[in-house]
């Protein structure tokens, strides 16, 4: 009797699971009500080239796809907005899940010889620090970002060296499964390019499905096949559309003199063979 009086009713054995369930449901509801957050901004490096062309912002939830580009700002060291730096397109570039927004730095200011470039110069100045400020964006449920997100970065000199496969270092995988395939690049590459423009193909010409990771500031590409490697020859196919964050691709610079492209046609494929040994 005494025990019954001291124990709250909701701790009784009969009710405990029901109450716990209700608490979990309420907690889940509460969680849904909190706003979306920015998970990551690519390039992840905090030092970026003066002629940076594109950035990607990844969100935790599907976001509204209109009216956002006015809310993404590039600020200089004094905290002033660098106007016209981010290309305010009519159609915003989102992935199908509406969780990744592509930002393009106004190409008219990035390219040499255009009036915007000659009159305003590039938006980014070497040696200065900037911050990308993302605030006020809303999820599809009209929930605003939980907090403003800032990415600070220092600007280094322009990157006008197209990516070159000859400078890449390939570490072949080991059959014992201790290591997947690792490709190392001397400079960062575009994360979407790395996901899309590198493919592993086996000796019979079939694509090898697997998991891709892009660590070390987009300077490495790791590939782990879904099925274990077999001994023998594989190929890494590289499409020459593979680009760096400044828009230079394997076929040449983003802003290139007439006739200077490596291949006549864009989108050629390069094939790098490698052996999987014991």
């Amino acid at each position: 009797m005494i025990k019954q009086c001291l124990t709250p009713w909701w701790l009784s054995r009969r009710n405990i699971s029901f109450v716990l369930g209700l608490v979990l449901i309420l907690a889940a509801c509460q969680r849904q009500e909190s706003g979306p957050v920015v998970l990551k901004v690519f390039p992840t490096s905090d030092t970026l080239p003066e002629n940076l062309l594109r950035m990607y912002v990844q969100f935790s939830e599907p976001m509204k796809t209109i009216g956002n580009l006015e809310k993404v700002k590039l600020m200089d060291e004094r905290g002033e907005v660098v106007s016209g730096a981010i290309f305010n397109n009519v159609y915003e570039l989102w992935d199908a899940e509406q969780k990744q927004l592509t930002l393009i730095l106004d190409p008219a200011r990035v390219k040499t010889g255009l009036v915007a470039n000659e009159n305003l110069g590039r938006a980014l100045v070497v040696g200065q620090t900037y911050q990308l400020l993302i605030e006020g964006l809303e999820s599809v449920q009209h929930q605003p970002l939980e907090a403003p997100f800032r990415k600070r970065f220092l600007v280094r000199s322009q990157d006008t060296v197209p990516p070159n496969v000859k400078a890449w270092q390939l570490e072949p995988p080991r059959m014992d499964g201790a290591q997947g395939l690792i490709m190392k690049f001397p400079d960062m590459l575009d994360q979407m390019s790395l996901r899309q423009r590198l493919v592993i193909v086996d000796n019979s010409g079939e694509t090898v499905p697997g998991k891709i990771e892009i660590p070390r500031g987009e300077r490495e590409w790791h590939f782990e096949p879904n099925q274990p490697w077999a001994r023998g020859t594989y190929f890494l196919y590289v499409n020459t559309r593979l680009a760096d964050p400044a828009g230079n691709n394997l076929n040449g610079k983003f802003d290139h003199p007439s006739g200077s492209l490596k291949f006549d046609k864009e989108g050629q494929n390069l094939r790098i063979p490698f052996q999987v040994l014991n």
């Binding site: 062309l53 570039l93 992935d95 592509t102 040499t112 010889g113 255009l114 009159n119 390019s193 003199p257």
Partner: protein, 431 residues
């Protein structure tokens, strides 16, 4: 007794939540289903008034036959409360309504609008049709219309069978134009800064061509070339040659002969002007304009997101295209960035979409800067503004036009009834 009470409340709350979610599911199951598309980004009319709908979500282009009665009179649109009208028709909140494009039916002058119902990735799209005579809104029946569709190939998958489309990669269809048996489709990729121009035969077959690349020269002295996607375009005969006039994301205006656009070709576009920086082109239309001296001149109008529109004579476009130095295009980088081309501005900075409505008028979808609402209204070509948006001395009942203003009065008397204010037409007497 107390514990019983609380358990009941909790159960009741859960029951209400479950019941209301069922009701929500039920209410979406209505007769508008036949009008739903997975996406509708861009519209264009083609032969026999077929409506092309670019659906970026599914990567498809649908060709939907339309039925319409001919309207010959220039009947203006004056729907200054349009977004609320449309939201009411769909029983939804205006903040959940997205309007992606606007085109006029060439026969009936009805406005066709690509709309999306809600912000979620899987929210359906529809084509709303507005009649200028009645102001009524209906929704295009897609399922029973006999529509045909084609998938827009990813250039990557065309190059090599195993280049996969990764989920994070998307292509937004940004413009479609029909010309002589083909549609020309421009798109923007979210993962690459490259040209994505396609030529697709209509009626749809297997035939689909993608140019390998389009390089545009953008400064003659250094002969720099660049890869860049087309943002908006128009097709017109320029100096007797069917030509794609394209506006790029980096603002130059470029001409490309249609005959150059073919599978695997590396096309060289010719830059004929820069439209000014800090600027994004939205729509491009051509129309025949009557000049003050009574002569006719074909014009090209490019509307911009952050600036006034750019109005250019097509005769000047032809001159720039044919007389420039070969492929080098612009020979002078003038401070305004317009080279030799004379560009006048049009007051279209609040216009979200524009199309030719009839010989006299354009239709515009514009944002009212005071209310934030969307208006679907007609404007006179060449004028590109509405008198009723401004309060001027002409509006006072006591205002009298003097003799020198005969032309102004004539113009005002025509435009006031067109904008829905016939009572403001002043009496005939003049001072």
């Amino acid at each position: 007794m107390k514990k019983f009470h609380w358990s009941l409340v909790a159960i009741a709350v859960l029951a209400v939540a479950i019941f209301s979610s069922f009701t929500l599911l039920e209410s979406t199951n209505n007769s508008l289903e036949n009008a739903e598309l997975s996406g509708a980004t861009v519209l264009a009319f083609g032969p026999d008034h077929v409506l092309f709908v670019g659906d970026s979500k599914s990567g498809q282009i649908h060709a939907i036959p339309t039925k319409a009665e001919e309207l010959k009179d220039p009947v203006p649109y004056n729907l200054t409360d349009f977004d609320r009208m449309l939201a009411k028709e769909l029983d939804m909140d205006t903040r959940d309504l997205i309007i992606n494009d606007l085109k006029i039916h060439p026969l009936s002058q009805e406005a066709y609008l690509a709309i999306k119902k809600g912000h979620a990735p899987d929210a359906p799209s529809m084509i709303a049709v507005v009649n200028p005579m009645s102001g009524d809104i209906r929704f295009l029946d897609v399922k029973e219309s006999g529509a045909t569709s084609i998938s827009v190939k990813n250039p990557a998958s065309a190059e090599l069978k195993f280049w996969r489309d990764i989920p994070a990669s998307s292509l937004t269809i940004t413009d479609i134009d029909y010309y002589d048996g083909n549609i020309y489709v421009a798109g923007l990729s979210n993962s690459e800064f490259a040209s994505t121009l396609r030529k697709i035969a209509y009626p749809f077959s297997e035939k689909q061509e993608a140019v390998q690349s389009i390089e545009i020269y953008h400064a003659v002295h250094t002969q720099m070339e660049t890869r860049a996607p087309i943002r908006t375009m128009a097709i017109a005969e320029v100096a007797g040659t069917p030509t794609l006039i394209a506006s790029y994301t980096c603002t130059p205006l470029v001409t490309i002969p249609l005959s150059d656009i073919a599978e695997g070709k590396d096309v060289k576009g010719k830059t004929i002007a820069e439209l000014g920086y800090g600027n994004t082109p939205i729509d491009m239309i051509t129309y025949m304009s009557q000049e003050m001296d009574g002569s006719f001149d074909q014009k090209l109008l490019v509307t911009n997101k952050h600036r006034s529109g750019s109005l250019i004579s097509m005769a000047a476009v032809a001159k720039a295209m044919t007389e420039g130095e070969g492929m080098e295009g612009m020979t002078v980088t003038a401070p305004t960035g317009t080279a030799d081309l004379e560009i006048t501005s049009s007051p279209t900075s609040s216009v979200l979409h524009i199309d030719n409505q009839n010989q006299m008028m354009v239709i515009t979808l514009k944002r009212n800067l005071e209310t934030g609402g969307l208006e679907l209204v007609s404007e006179l070509k060449g004028v590109f503004l509405r008198l009723s948006e401004f309060i001027s001395e002409y509006d006072f009942p006591t205002y009298r036009y003097d003799e020198k203003q005969a032309f102004t009065k004539q113009f005002h008397d025509m435009i006031k009834p067109m904008e829905g204010y016939p009572e403001l037409v002043s009496e005939k007497e003049e001072k």
